[in-house]
């Protein structure tokens, strides 16, 4: 019965969402508040139905109900308990449920917050959000139904993709989708503004905080994805410029651009058209990303299975982009700027440059991602675009962005005076240059590394200098040190939240630099008792052990590790053999440290345990990336707090 009940729930939810979308629009056009009320009820009903369908699917997973096709393909009797719950979003159909569920939550939040405010806008926002939700429910009803009955019922399921049996997979999709779906809110506001023609500046301020929330979750999703890739995939990296990674990175870039340029609009009433475009692009790119991962048009390690779903998404992308940009064209004459740019030495132009670089980065990533398709369409040649292209093009762009990260927040609005420049930048520039020189003396010869170090120190100095001056002026007013610092952070939370996020990005940049520039690795075959040395570590192979786990067979190697003669640890990298997979899955063992990680991957081995091949990597400064993510989290939380400035 479960497949039928679940299917009925999704179908009814689709009907409710469609009705609600239309009712909100008609209600506001004809001035009937009762219809808008009814649309809100429909939104609530949709949420309840999706949540119930999700619980039903979880129940089917927990009880091994293999009459549900999705359960049979994504679990088997050996799948551990927690992964039977997370298997819910382990494949295409379930991920769409998760997506719809989150979108319905955002819709409810918008209703709760705005139903008695923003009277002109709100019904259209509701209508657009329910319309988008209806699309995802349509996908759940027609091309990718999670509740499909399977006959005959197999005795056991196929099992979850073993790579997804990891804690990173519990959190990564949740964070990522909270980010993706979160961008629906600013998009819905933008559409409401265009439809009503009330293109003031207020709505954009309203959407700013929603965008930060979505941006934060997307950042978190990207970082957890990197963490998963690092400790599960066993290649020692965290980012591969794979189409699906790019798909999540592009909206991050455009959203970052928007978060900066919106400040210029708030302050100077310019860039309205530009900001609207960024919102539309960001939302469009989240849908594009979903399309890429689910249509199978590009080859990627993460691709879900394909089907007619691609056509649905393509139709939706067409509708969104043509509709949104069509509205921009129709209303664009109202988007005229009320101010103008005064000088290129100003905060406005620093932010504009930042936007230019971020959008350029998004474009190059986009171009590299779809190039294989373009090449096949135009020249009929299959090519693949790899990391070298993306690194070559993006490294200079990101260095420039780091530089602007130091300039933007401190340079004066409108026109910077020589005094302003000297006061804010003299020390930081000196610090940056001194740091680069110091590292050169310490033996760092790599120009790229020196540039990056210098820039990071420069930006960090601007932040410290600003915070120091602000604290000092509070101290002069008689405040004590710690309360003064606390007040700065909470009362000017937008500014200092932003600074903390910048610090997080700097720490991440150092991690990326260090891991690319100084990691070393080696692969070797050892006899039992034999040892091997790399970067001061001595790794000795002590033997192999085999064990039968609930859903796989595991061969574990024992390696004793010493560092400069001192015993350090015993490490257990393993290989897992799943009956449903042709190739074994590596189980990485690693020792994390601030300076470097020791990372062991077991390769081939002799069945009698006399010999094993081991890949040893000493990955430098990777931990900084995760640490930077933590700092970024704190900064985002600070920036999201309600404004208490000038309270």
């Amino acid at each position: 019965m479960i497949p039928e009940i679940g299917y009925a729930m999704t179908a009814v939810a689709l009907g409710l969402a469609l009705y609600g979308s239309v009712a909100a629009a008609v209600g506001t056009k004809t001035g009937r508040p009762a219809l808008i009320q009814s649309s809100q009820h429909a939104a609530l009903g949709t949420f309840v139905l999706i949540a119930a369908a999700m619980l039903l699917l979880v129940y089917a997973f927990l009880t091994f109900d293999f009459s549900v096709r999705y359960v049979a393909t994504n679990t088997n009797r050996g799948t551990p308990f927690y992964y039977r719950i997370t298997a819910l979003w382990g494949a295409l159909e379930g991920s769409i449920i998760l997506w719809s569920w989150m979108l319905s939550i955002y819709t409810l939040l918008v209703i709760l917050r705005y139903r008695s405010r923003q009277a002109e806008f709100y019904p259209w926002v509701l209508s657009v959000m329910l319309g988008i939700l209806a699309f995802f429910l349509l996908v759940m009803t027609v091309p990718a139904p999670p509740f499909q009955r399977l006959t005959p019922i197999p005795p056991d399921g196929r099992g979850l993709n073993p790579l997804l049996e990891d804690t990173g997979m519990i959190t990564h999709p949740v964070a990522l989708y909270l980010g993706f779906t979160g961008f629906t809110v600013p998009f819905a506001f933008a559409m409401a503004a265009l439809i009503t023609g009330k293109i003031g500046d207020e709505w954009i301020t309203t959407t700013r905080r929603w965008t930060i929330v979505a941006w934060y979750f997307l950042s978190l999703g990207l970082l957890i994805g990197g963490w998963w890739s690092y400790h599960v995939l066993g290649w020692g990296g965290y980012w591969a410029w794979d189409p699906v990674e790019n798909a999540a990175f592009m909206p991050w870039l455009t959203a970052t651009a928007f978060l900066h340029s919106v400040m210029i609009q708030e302050r100077r009433r310019i860039l309205k058209l530009w900001n609207l475009t960024l919102i539309i692009l960001t939302f469009g790119l989240t849908i594009f990303g979903t399309f890429l991962t689910r249509s199978g048009i590009l080859s990627s390690v993460h691709s879900f299975t394909q089907g007619s779903i691609g056509a649905f998404f393509l139709g939706f992308i067409a509708l969104v982009l043509l509709g949104a940009f069509g509205l921009v064209a129709a209303r664009g004459h109202r988007l005229k700027a009320q101010g103008e740019l005064d000088s290129i030495l100003s905060r406005e132009s620093a932010f504009l440059l930042n936007n230019l670089f971020l959008v350029a980065a998004a474009f190059t990533v986009f171009f590299g991602t779809v190039f294989p398709l373009l090449s096949e369409a135009v020249r009929g040649v299959k090519v693949s675009v790899g990391a070298p292209f993306f690194n070559l093009v993006n490294i200079p762009i990101f260095l420039a962005l780091i530089f602007l990260m130091g300039v933007g927040p401190l340079i004066a609005w409108r026109r910077a005076s020589p005094e302003n420049l000297r006061r804010n930048f003299l020390y930081p520039v000196a610090m940056g240059v001194a740091a680069a020189a110091l590292f050169r003396l310490l033996g760092v010869a790599n120009t790229l590394a020196l540039t990056c170090f210098g820039l990071v120190v420069f930006v960090a100095s601007t932040i410290i200098l600003d915070f120091y001056r602000a604290t000092r002026s509070k101290l002069r007013n008689g405040e004590r040190l710690l309360p003064a610092m606390g007040n700065l952070l909470t009362r000017q939370n937008r500014r200092y939240g932003g600074f903390v996020v910048h610090l997080g990005i700097l720490v991440i940049a150092l991690g990326v630099l260090g891991s690319n520039a100084w990691s070393v690795q080696s692969e070797t075959t050892l006899n039992r008792g034999e040892a091997f040395e790399i970067a001061g570590y001595r790794v000795r192979f002590d033997g192999l052990a085999a064990s039968e786990e609930s859903n796989h067979f595991k061969v574990t190697g024992t390696f004793s590790v010493a560092n400069n003669g001192h015993p350090l640890a015993v490490m257990y990298p393993a290989k897992k053999f799943y009956p449903q997979e042709q190739t074994p899955i590596a189980y990485v063992d690693y020792l994390m440290g601030l300076r470097e990680d020791l990372y062991l991957v077991l390769g081939d081995f002799a069945r009698d345990g006399s010999q094993a091949t081991i890949k040893v990597q000493v990955n430098r400064m990777v931990t900084l990336i995760w640490l930077g993510g933590l700092i970024l989290t704190l900064g985002s939380a600070l920036a999201i707090l309600p404004d208490r400035k000038r309270a």
Binding site: A72, P154, G296, I297, L321, A329, H333, E340, Q582
Partner: protein, 192 residues
């Protein structure tokens, strides 16, 4: 310090420009949509097999119902060589009945369907054969040598071999009725 005005063109000129050019904004999306639609017609995983057009590597298997079968003995017949596994759900389950029907329909016309079961346990494989009542010759590849020789990347994969022993087509994923009939008819027509 140089001062630069952006967006400060005379309002009238700007709006005329806007009036003429505004629909270019939504229209600029169209080429992208066309490109993405084109993507449906291609399969990024369909990397052409270098084996197509080359002689099929000879091998012999011990069949599940006893006896041995060598590919060389099948010279002069059209061979449909199918790599499968009992854990390969759902694709292998979808194609098994198709292969069985194809075998029954064409065996009198000089077509042999040959199944090679890879990375599997014998018990599970036998259960699979029984479930679908497969009657065409089928054997395991315990050392994995055959699947390596044929560059099998995942299951199911099916090779269509002509009467002279050349691989003429590699099919990735479940074989459908249509693919089976089309390829087999083509190879039967070709004579060879």
């Amino acid at each position: 310090m140089n001062s630069q005005a952006v967006g400060a063109a005379p309002p009238a000129a700007e709006s005329r420009l806007w009036r003429r050019g505004k629909w270019a904004i939504p229209l600029s999306v169209v080429p992208l949509l066309v490109l993405l639609a084109y993507g449906f017609r291609t399969d990024p995983r369909a990397i052409p097999s270098p084996l197509v057009g080359r002689p099929a590597a000879p091998f012999s298997v011990t069949l599940f119902d006893g006896g041995r079968l060598s590919l060389l003995d099948l010279r002069g017949k059209v061979v449909v060589l199918n790599f499968w596994a009992s854990w390969c759900y759902p694709a292998c389950y979808e194609e098994a009945p198709v292969l069985e029907r194809g075998w029954r329909a064409y065996k009198e016309r000089g077509v042999v369907v040959l199944g090679v079961d890879i990375q599997d346990t014998e018990e599970a494989a036998r259960k699979f054969l029984k479930q679908f009542a497969l009657s065409f010759p089928n054997g395991p590849d315990p050392t994995g040598k055959i699947s390596v020789d044929y560059g099998v990347y995942g299951v199911p994969e099916t090779f269509f071999i002509d009467k002279t022993g050349r691989i003429r087509k590699k099919h990735v994923g479940a074989v459908t009725e249509e693919v089976f009939t089309r390829e087999v008819e083509r190879l039967l027509r070709d004579g060879g």
